[in-house]
Amino acid sequence: MIAHINHTIPNIIRLNSICNIHEFSIHDTITESRKEAHDFWEFLYLKTGRLNVLVDGELYTLSAGDLILYPPYAFHSVAMSQGAVAMCVTFSTDSVRLHQLTGRILLLTPEAQQSLLNINNLKCTLFADVKGSSLVKDFTLRGMNQTQAFDSADFQKLTNLLEIFLIDLCKAEQRSQNDHLQSQEFAALNAYLKKNLNRSLSLEEISAEYGVAIPQLQKFCREQCGCGPITYFISLKIGVAKQMIKEGTFTFTEIAEALGFSSVHYFSRLFKSKTGMSPSEYEATLRKGR
């Protein structure tokens, strides 16, 4: 008897129902927009133009390609439009994962924008917007009606695509949070190196004083600027050296000393190898430029 391993599919983001998917343009002369809150999720994606959205007292200004997601019971309204064409999607879900995406503007990648277009196209074959926004006075009906071409298999496709879109949104957001973290780390390294420009530091010294292991140091430095920490340190020094040469108040020997080079010869050689010209040639080009 052969046993087979199988893996149950986790339900990370599962939609229970879809309330509405629709595209609309918002007139620039909008005076008072609808203010509302409801017990399902909603996101607004701006295709073109600019749009201000007020969510629970926080004002967000969206540009083309931006998306904002708000959780159930968020009190929201749109205001101040400049040629805005938006897509609005409302749905209900029990997944808590989406809360990590709320409260900020998310910029969609071209792929994500394309998949929203596909979702909207599929929706248009299955549903029509509910007509008659005011059946009786002070009574409004919103949502979608099934068209004759409605097919439950196609509706599942629509739902699957929307779930994939939301999963991708969560993943992109996680990635950008990581980027942010790394750039903070990098900013700290950058500040440390700038404070120590007068010293000649080895990789071991940077690692020991800065308190980060060499492989990790190399990894995030390479991710941020495409080179190792020492090369980055040298490029900082060259930048400062150029600045000092431009100012013209220091001799090369003074500059070499200020930047922690053991001799002016070593400074000159390094400068030439990195910039393609010697410090004096560089100085000459500056004079010509004046």
């Binding site: 087979h4 199988n6 986790p10 509910v130 009606n145 298999a153 695509l161």
Partner: protein
């Protein structure tokens, strides 16, 4: 349709919500990979398992025997078979296949089984895309030979697993729009055709390998070679697979009881029939009959 009422300010707003439909929900993954079949794998195992499986032929030549029905695929074609199908494969060397196996409770897929589906370019791309994604998430299990399947790689984000499953569902739903053909039983190999006709004529009999050889005027060695090349199993297994297929059809389409079916297929007793059926399909005849009735 669920309807909700919200009162916003002085205005009543009614929201129409459309509950999501699950016509096809994959409940678990067993495996998902691309594989190059080399000569050592050509002699495949005949097996049955409790989950759905599909085979897609990327390149090369492939024949799949499912419950006595032989399907010969061309590149770009796919065959899907339901749980508890007794199947084996025969392939030429340098054959590349994509295989996915999974579990689902929905009966919708039965509409697609028993036919060869020809995939268009876009669908083939979708398949390549999610098999590649699958290989990032699952890795083949190597160890105990009694255990098959794949393991989740370390640090897999569960969201990626759901994403993959959503893609598989989309792919399966798209299969309903592909061109399908039934297996053509005109075998290019005349000798195999003679062998096949002989067995079908004698489905009521209890034949040994010698009987089959005598009936087809050929040697056992020759017959075994021929049969393995065409359908990946020996002549007797092929004969059993024909009988299993016939038994399943009888359970589905006739009102015969198991004793009558066993008799019609040349089994010495209903007990032996039941035992064989269970060993080949992983399911007893009565469980199978129940599962078929549930489908209706």
């Amino acid at each position: 349709m669920k309807q909700r009422l919200e009162k916003v300010g002085e205005k009543m707003i009614q929201y129409v919500q459309v509950p999501v439909t699950e016509v096809l929900r994959v409940t678990s993954f067993v495996s998902l990979f691309q594989s190059k079949l080399d000569d050592t794998q050509i002699e495949s195992v005949s097996e049955a398992h409790p989950f759905w499986e599909f085979l897609f032929l990327e390149s090369g030549k492939l024949s799949v025997l499912v419950d006595g029905e032989l399907y010969t695929l061309s590149p770009g074609e796919l065959i899907l078979y339901p749980p508890h199908s007794f199947h084996s494969i025969a392939a030429s060397s340098d054959t590349v296949v994509k295989i996915a196996s999974f579990m689902t409770e929905s009966n919708l897929l039965h509409e697609l089984s028993g036919r060869i589906l020809s995939l268009g370019g876009a669908l083939q791309e979708d398949l390549s895309h999610f098999v590649a994604l699958g290989e990032k998430i699952l890795v083949g299990y190597q160890g105990d030979t009694d255990v098959r399947g794949m393991l989740l790689r370390d640090y897999v984000n569960p969201a990626d697993t759901q994403r993959l499953s959503n893609l598989l569902e989309l792919f399966l739903l798209d299969l309903f729009n592909t061109k399908a053909r039934t297996s053509s039983q005109n075998f290019r190999d005349e000798q195999f055709s003679v062998f096949n006709d002989f067995l079908k004529k004698h489905i009521k009999d209890n034949l040994t390998l010698e009987d089959i050889c005598d009936g087809c005027f050929t040697s056992a060695a020759n017959l075994q070679k021929l049969c393995h090349k065409q359908c990946g199993c020996g002549p007797v297994t092929y004969f059993i697979s024909l009988k299993i297929g016939a038994a399943k059809r009888m359970m589905k389409e006739s009102s015969m009881n198991f004793t009558q079916i066993a008799e019609a297929l040349g089994f010495s007793s209903v007990h032996y029939f039941s035992k064989l059926f269970k060993s080949k399909t992983g399911m007893s005849p009565s469980d199978y009959a129940k599962s078929v009735k549930k489908m209706r």
